[in-house]
């Protein structure tokens, strides 16, 4: 029941996002018809283009038509390549998705582990060291870190490829080696955020009454930390991961640019630099959809991690 309500509100959010994208693109300075035909274009040709793209229709009619298109999965045609926008995006998404999943996995593994170490080592050298490390990880911009990583691991100590992307069906080994540096660079800032949140959540959890109960039971330190404190902290970590996925997309834009990976982020930059309006529109729409879906999934993950959320979701107690 509650999931349906949640999905319904997600749908409304999506509709609003579509409207904003639609209006946003139209509010951009410049006429798309002029962009296509050229500044010196023949007025008749301009008119023809306007008619072809329905730009002469009232904006409300245009919006309804656009909605119809989207629902049928038609995101328009890329002006630059002449290919359907949906196809262009579909080609780029798996690349970014793989990069993101690997980056997140690396980030969660590093972030949670160091977060726990930092919390347990609070006030000691280990805790301080991890915290400083995270601060550095957070402060370094992805593009600089990417360039430095290439410099060190591809040029000074040439153990990994500097850039590019190899599809898995072409060469699985090269596929993996090409992903290592981008995933680490993309995940580093993320790992730092997760570490800080894990540390904070752990420090709080360690002072709770139920952790005192766990200690009073005679459990080992490891049991107390992992089964009781960390289990509760993961709810916070899941939220952060969910909220930060958007930032991750932004990070992917830079990382893909640095490592020349033909993913969604690179597509976004290319679309903007070439003024490919249908493609920009499609890319932004997909990004918004991804955001909303991710939030929905995060909500679901909560109820998995925290049984109290289940009771709030309208189930019987």
């Amino acid at each position: 029941m509650r999931f349906l309500a949640r999905a319904g509100s997600a749908l409304i959010t999506l509709l609003i996002a579509v409207a904003v994208v639609f209006l946003g693109v139209r509010a951009l300075p410049g006429d798309p018809a002029v962009a296509l035909v050229g500044q010196e274009g023949d007025p008749a040709a301009l008119e023809a283009v306007r008619q072809q793209y329905g730009l002469d229709l009232p904006i409300t009619v245009q919006f309804v038509k656009y909605l119809e298109q989207i629902v049928t999965g038609n995101l328009g045609t890329s002006v630059r390549t002449g290919m359907p926008v949906s196809e262009v995006i579909a080609g780029a998404i798996p690349v970014t998705l793989e990069l993101a999943v690997v980056a997140i996995s690396v980030a969660v593994a590093i972030g949670v582990t160091t977060g726990v170490i930092a919390a347990l080592g609070r006030g000691k050298a280990t805790g301080w060291l991890v915290s400083v490390g995270a601060l550095i990880g957070l402060s370094i911009p992805a593009f600089w870190l990417g360039i430095m990583a290439i410099l060190v691991f591809a040029i000074m100590i040439p153990i990994l490829p500097a850039s590019g992307f190899v599809p898995i069906d072409v060469d699985p080994v090269a596929h993996v080696t090409h992903l290592v540096l981008p995933a680490l660079v993309l995940g580093s800032a993320f790992a730092a955020v997760i570490m800080r949140q894990t540390r904070a959540a752990m420090l709080e959890a360690l002072t709770t009454d139920y952790v005192r109960t766990a200690i009073a039971k005679g459990l080992s330190r490891r049991q107390v930390v992992v089964k009781h404190a960390l289990r509760n902290s993961l709810v916070v970590v899941a939220t952060v991961v969910g909220l930060q996925l958007g930032t991750l997309i932004a990070g992917a834009v830079v990382t893909e640019q640095v490592f020349v990976i033909p993913g969604f982020g690179k597509l976004m930059i290319d679309a903007v630099t070439t003024r490919d309006y249908p493609l920009i529109q499609g890319v932004v729409l997909i990004t918004a959809t991804a955001y909303i879906v991710i939030n929905l999934l995060t909500d679901l993950l909560y109820s998995l991690l925290d049984p109290r959320m289940r009771i709030m979701s309208g189930g019987s107690a």
Binding site: D209, K217, G218, S220, R231, N232, V235, L305, P307
Partner: protein, 331 residues
């Protein structure tokens, strides 16, 4: 030999404003099967005093003195040694069962954990034993309740879960820190009855911390009254209620609401608040709030003296009914 023998327990916290003396030279003992109650206002050090027995106090606490449980020293014992005592020989029930249970683990598993830890039971065996325990502490439909989460239970049921957890390994001492304070009055009686039953059935001793003299009258065999980190009076429960020796005990008893007496009957409070002790003063700690305090009360600390069979008090004017005629004249 006593089951628990606490001697001169002192707990000091270092704070930004300097050290605070939470417990000041507290001594008491507990016999097997006995229910002893530590009574006092909030902040008198009663909780800190018992938490430190199992090393459950905060890391800022500085502890001295001795606490021998069954001939092993608890204060300053290693974590490894304490882990063998905690939950197995000495178990705890805390004030708020909601926050004391892990919200994301089923109650059954939380109890089973103790059995698996100390008894090495398999998951399946532990489950059966937990269902037995749930039945014993009066949780209806114990098999179904095994898979419940704390938020799905009422406060009274949660406290019963805590008690089931505490008695799982048949401890010889149960420490109950305000076990009924967070519960409805109607539920309180049931929990106290259960504690008493368990004591009678297993012969475990109970160290009960409370500020509620009603609870004390219900269940305790012996009472230790604490004020500002010090023991001010100790007596059998009957003697304490019939013939309180310390002025603070007297005031506490007067502060209990009574039936009858009509509208005019006023509830008696104790003026002032419990002082925060920076160091051990050469005075009776209650002197600032005491109606009969003499000059001596402000300048010298009264020792702990026998005041009757099984009753002892730390007061310069023990048993005084009213304020002495001339303040400071009584010796």
């Amino acid at each position: 030999m006593s089951l628990l023998d606490v001697r001169d327990l002192t707990v000091r916290f270092s704070t930004k404003k300097g050290p605070v003396l939470a417990v000041d030279g507290l001594s008491y003992h507990l016999e097997p099967g006995e229910i002893v109650s530590l009574v006092g206002e909030s902040g008198c050090g009663k909780s800190v005093g018992i938490m430190s027995l199992l090393g459950l106090q905060g890391p800022q606490a500085e502890i001295s003195g001795s606490a021998r449980f069954d001939d092993q020293e608890l204060l300053g014992a290693s974590e490894r040694k304490l882990r063998l005592v905690r939950g197995k020989q000495v178990a705890c029930v805390f004030q708020d069962p909601m926050s004391s249970l892990n919200p994301v683990v089923t109650v059954g598993k939380q109890v089973a954990e103790v059995l698996r830890r100390h008894r090495g039971l398999s998951a399946a065996k532990a489950r059966l034993r937990v269902i037995d325990l749930f039945e014993r502490v009066g949780i209806p439909a114990p098999a179904q309740r095994y898979a419940s989460y704390p938020h799905e239970m009422s406060g009274g049921m949660r406290q019963r879960v805590m008690i089931a957890m505490a008695i799982a390994c048949e401890p010889r001492l149960l420490i109950a820190d305000e076990p009924t304070t967070a519960l409805d009055v109607t539920i309180q009686a049931g929990i106290l009855e259960l504690l008493k039953e368990l004591r009678d059935g297993t012969g475990m001793a109970v160290l009960l911390v409370t500020h509620d003299l009603g609870v004390v009258a219900d269940i305790a065999d012996r009472v230790i009254v604490m004020y500002a980190g010090r023991k001010v009076e100790e007596a059998e429960v009957r003697a304490l209620f019939n013939d309180p020796q310390h002025q603070y005990t007297r005031r506490l008893l007067e502060a209990i609401p009574q039936r009858g007496g009509g509208r005019d009957r006023r509830l008696h409070g104790i003026p002032g608040t419990v002082p925060t002790l920076r160091d051990s003063p050469d005075a009776c700690t209650f002197s600032e709030r005491c109606a009969i305090a003499s000059e001596r009360c402000h300048t010298a600390r009264p020792g702990f003296a026998e005041a009757g069979p099984g009753q002892a008090v730390s007061c310069w004017h023990p048993g005084a009914q009213t304020a002495p005629a001339v303040k400071g004249a009584v010796r």
